[in-house]
Amino acid sequence: MSENKEPGMAYSMPKLHKVMAILSFIFFVTTVWMFLDDYIKPWKAIQIEALQIKRQHTEDALKAARKDIDAKKLAELNSSLAKGEEIVISRKKDIEKTEKELKVVQTKMKAQTIENGVFNGDVSAVNFQYETAVANHDHKLIEKKLEELTKLKAGFDIGKDNLKALQAQEKEISAKLLELYKEVVTSQKEIKDITMKVTLLEAAKATTDFNPIFALRNMPFLDYLDPTIKIQQLVINNVTDDRYFRQVPKVDRCTTCHTFIDQPGYEKEKQPFRTHPKLDLMVGLESKHPMKVTGCTACHGGEGQRVTDFASVAHTPDSPKQEQEWVKKYGWKAPHHIASPMFSRSQTEAGCVKCHSGVELIPGATVLNEGRMAIEKNGCYACHKIEGWGENKRKPGPSLLKIAGKVDKEWFKSWVWEPKSFNKHAKMPAFFRQSNNSKPEFVRLNVTEVNAIAEYVWDKSKPYAATETFRPGNAENGKKIISEVGCLGCHGVDGLEDQSNKVKAYAGPWLSGLGSKVQPDWLVTWLKKPNHYQEDTIMPSLRLTDGEANDIATYLLSLRNKSFEDLKFAKFDLKARDELLTDYLSAFDTQASAAAKVAKMNDREKTLDLGKRSIGKYGCFSCHNIEGFDGFAPIGPELTKEGSKPLTQFFFGIQHQVPHARDGWITAHLQNPRMWDIGIDKVFRDLNRMPNFYMNEAEAKKITVALLGQTSDVVPLAGRKRYSAGEALYNDAMKVAGKYNCMGCHQIDGLRGDILRSYADDINQGPPRLVGQGHRVQTDWLYHFLQSPTPIRPWLSIRMPTFNLSTEEKNKIVAGFQQGSKQPTFEEPQQVVQWEPGEREGAVKLWNAYNCVSCHSIGFTKDTPLAPDLHKAAKRLRPSWIKLWITNPQNILPGTTMPSFFGDDGKTPIEPGVFGGDAEKQINALTKYVLEFGL
């Protein structure tokens, strides 16, 4: 190589050294780079920013605290402190002497403590030797050790006694010393009381200082010792992560960046420094879900252990706009390799489900509840099993067991073909005329199926004879009755759109075009006695008179759908019928032999067979009672664990515009379930059968939230909401209330009360809100009231209907309401009211002073009553509730017309002249007076 090469060398040495120098430098740079790469983490910058924010907040608080200090008083105290110090100085000699005495005593105490300690050890050791000797029956040793032990114990006793004497001495001298310092100590204490907050805040501020100690503790290499900038984590033992074959406690490191999530006062900071928006319910120390117990990802989902960067924890944007913002701001990427990404903000309530199972509506989970109500309305649960809350529910559609007595077959076929063309509010979804079955060859087969279904249903329909006869009445009056008696709690009605749209009732169908649909006699009978036609209907009787029923029927029959009436359904194509049957039979047979089998059947057999198969195929029996389908399993896939279904198991077809995520698929599917078949070549029998509900996006999104919550996550028993016996009974009661749509009218403990929305101007004209109903009314009364309601508030036009409740259901409501209000079944039975001397006179005075009869007029005056009959109160209400009610009615029912006579605190009567203004005595007396009427 080069000329300065030495012998025996392949390379020149200086050149090699140069290479070595360059390589060493590169190596040094990469090493430094490696350490920096390890040290510089995004969350550290966030914590430093958090520290600055905290400092700013502390400074603000400090400013406010300093302002709060009364300067004048502080100056006064300081001057009295100075004075006190002067006085104390004058006692200098005494103080010095006393302090010396104290020191002597304390020295002696220390010496005595040491001596006692030695004695203690010796006694224990010799005691052991003595006991060993006893156990070994070594008599000589026993004697020797006993002697020794006795001596030591005596010495120990004397030592302990000495110590007690010294302690007494110390106490005495200390008290003396304190007395000498008295003036100073008192002033100091007062000053401290005033300035404490400032001192504490100053200490807090000092923790946010960026000083050399901060730098040292967080220095690279040294930051393993005791850093202040560090990963924060919560270990949640009660909620676990499924690590396959092993459940591991959740580890949430979210608080590493969400630094103030549990601290009030940071509500206005930008993310991630903002306080949790629902601190009273979540995360807060006093809330039901404190941070240390519930953590973060238990509800929100996502990867709680990761702090690498924003995207790695699987934050999920709530909208495309937010997504763009995140991409720009944080470099957000769609999560890959994450089985369950975080719920987006509007879907967070899905996280409630895994711990709160077995309950219909979860208080506070608005979106989730609305989603479940939408599932209830659309009857999804009928075809899809949803374990935990969707089972054992009634069939959402009407029974078809006696359908021939209700509607016309021609109407039935047209309705099945396209329900929305008859009634745009129809809840019955559309099976036909969809994107995947509108080809002429499919339409031909669909028409045949509908014809066969109708034939089957009519063939199985039992004879039905109406018990009432329709007599045309006053349609206008009928309309008025409908709007007033409470029909709108369950039904929307044509002609009453304003009210109906406010209430948004969904338990019953929207009543439209009835004149083109039902037989008049059937309608009157149905109105008068619904369970005559369908035994298990939830439609109650409103105890209508014949006149009322006929008026209503007249109005409803006046609603017609002319264009629908003119429809003629296509004729039954017998060839298509045979083709379809052959196709069914050829599933396990050859075409030829299937065709031969079909040919052997007679006409009726063929039609009924195809009818039954078609009903089974479309799952009509899931929603409607149809004969011949007892024990058939619902046709939809189970949705109990839909929220954990792997994304690869969702079929997106060629619908690339649908977001490739669980929620995206569910929302799109709900809006148009047949879209996945688009562009896919399928034979008739394989077509997607999920019917189209023509759902809007908002509703679909709500249902999506409810379904996303149905995960397979296993939450340990300790982490789940476990219902006490009482809470379980209350849940059962609410399930019954849900079944009969009680909450279509009544608001129960703050939930729903749909019809109240149409009583916005005077809530007291609507059905009574039920708050703590189990406490309000007596057990027996409630049971009998459910059985046969009697009017309590005669001035209301809305009526409590008579429901067709079973004994079990009534008992469930009664017991559940009691448990919901934490009340015993019976209160102390009161046969006679026991008056204290002079109490009744006081009660009468109050009765008159508060002018109770001005509203509670029934049985007292001829005035129109504005409040319930108090003569019935004793049998209806619980005495303890009456007291509570009188004390402050607004507390129980905000907006009630019942006045508060005892102020907001329930302790200041507006009539101070009676019982010396003692509110409690007044309330007791009034309660007794009310009870007296009824007993």
Partner: protein, 360 residues
């Protein structure tokens, strides 16, 4: 259009024979391949082609996966060193033909130097450079973090480490017992046996092809075509469900490839003879068994007796070495044979004895 053409070309059915032919041409014309001019031209053509490949989003997304970076490095290095060997060998062979002897034998190349610092110092350089390179690599390409392992839910495609992808690719054609145990065992055993089989003293300490034609051809075919090529296929061209995807093809999870494979016994008994499968297992598989045994037992003696090359080989190696060598070569060639049979006849197994866990 061109992309679709490349996609089609990449399918092993075409690319495997193509690569075999290319391999043959490379060795046949190694004196042309082993020139700097050839290298420059190849590089000049490959650079725009690579850029064109990289411009495709589907190809780029496969390439940029952190797991796949070592394979790209491997490809570049394999390409370079193969050419470098050819270049050196061509140079030496030309000299040897001219009676000059290899370059390594010239007096100036035979001079001896000190181990320290010439060797040890430079080894230290290599260590430092290598460590620095690995550190930078680790910083830039983070270890990919996936979901927690779920034994009931395997990732799709489930791929072996890149260096085993050749073996995994063999699973397409062989029973796991063969592809996973027997053949890898033979590869290791065969490589260990090489020094004992190879009696050719030439080519020691210098580059040459001419003097070791057979040894080099056999080794390079196993290495370049049956190992590296299969790794490339396994890494870049096998997607979800181990389905073939062209380099420019999107890895669509739902891609379906038609394949219905049939055993040799079924082809013969049912399709050709039109009778049912015999109950007796040995009888049922008798054709496959005879063929397999013939392949292993008949070919070596026939080759030694009937061909000139075989006779020469037999004489130079001796009976034992010859038979071991032939056995190893036959096992190696069984892979391409099986691949071709699969493509031509949709052949599943030559001998299908799942009852005995023996499928060939």
């Amino acid at each position: 259009m061109l992309r679709e053409f490349v996609n089609t070309l990449s399918d092993p059915i075409i690319s495997f024979p193509a690569i075999t032919i290319a391999f043959y041409l490379m060795l046949k014309h190694y004196k042309i391949v082993g020139t700097k001019k050839f290298a420059y031209w190849t590089t000049a053509i490959l650079i725009p082609v690579t850029v064109w490949f990289l411009a495709d989003p589907n190809f780029f997304s496969i390439i940029k996966t952190p797991d796949n970076i070592p394979i790209i490095i491997l490809l570049v290095l394999v390409g370079f060193f193969t050419w470098f060997w050819l270049y050196k060998a061509a140079e030496n062979d030309t000299r040897i033909e001219a009676g000059l002897g290899p370059i390594e034998a010239t007096p100036e190349e035979r001079e001896k130097v000190w181990t320290w610092p010439n060797l040890v110092y430079t080894e230290l350089f290599a260590m430092i450079a290598c460590t620095a390179f690995l550190v930078v690599w680790a910083i830039i390409f983070k270890a990919p973090l996936e979901e927690s392992a779920n034994p009931t839910w395997a990732p799709n495609p489930a791929k072996a480490p890149w260096y085993f992808l050749g073996l995994q690719e063999m699973l397409v054609y062989f029973d796991p017992w063969m592809a996973g145990v027997v053949l890898p065992g033979l590869i290791v055993g065969g490589l260990i046996a090489v020094p004992y089989i190879d009696t050719n003293p030439k080519g020691n300490g210098y580059y040459t092809f001419k003097e070791r034609k057979m040894a080099i051809t056999a080794f390079l075919y196993g290495w370049l075509v049956l190992w590296v090529y299969l790794i490339i296929v396994g890494v870049f061209l096998r997607g979800p469900n181990w389905t073939f995807y062209g380099p420019f093809e999107f890895w669509d999870f739902h891609k379906v490839v038609a394949s219905f494979n049939v055993n040799l016994s079924e082809i013969i008994w049912i399709k050709m003879l039109g009778v049912g499968l015999p109950k007796n297992l040995v009888l049922r598989e008798i054709f496959g068994i005879i063929l397999s045994l013939a392949y292993i037992i008949v070919i070596p003696p026939w080759f030694a007796k009937a061909t000139k090359a075989g006779r020469k080989l037999f004489l130079s190696l001796g009976a034992t070495r010859y038979h071991i060598f032939m056995f190893l070569v036959l096992m190696m060639t069984s892979l391409p044979i099986k691949m071709i049979l699969r493509w031509l006849f949709s052949l599943k197994y030559i001998v299908a004895l799942p009852e005995w866990e023996l499928n060939l």
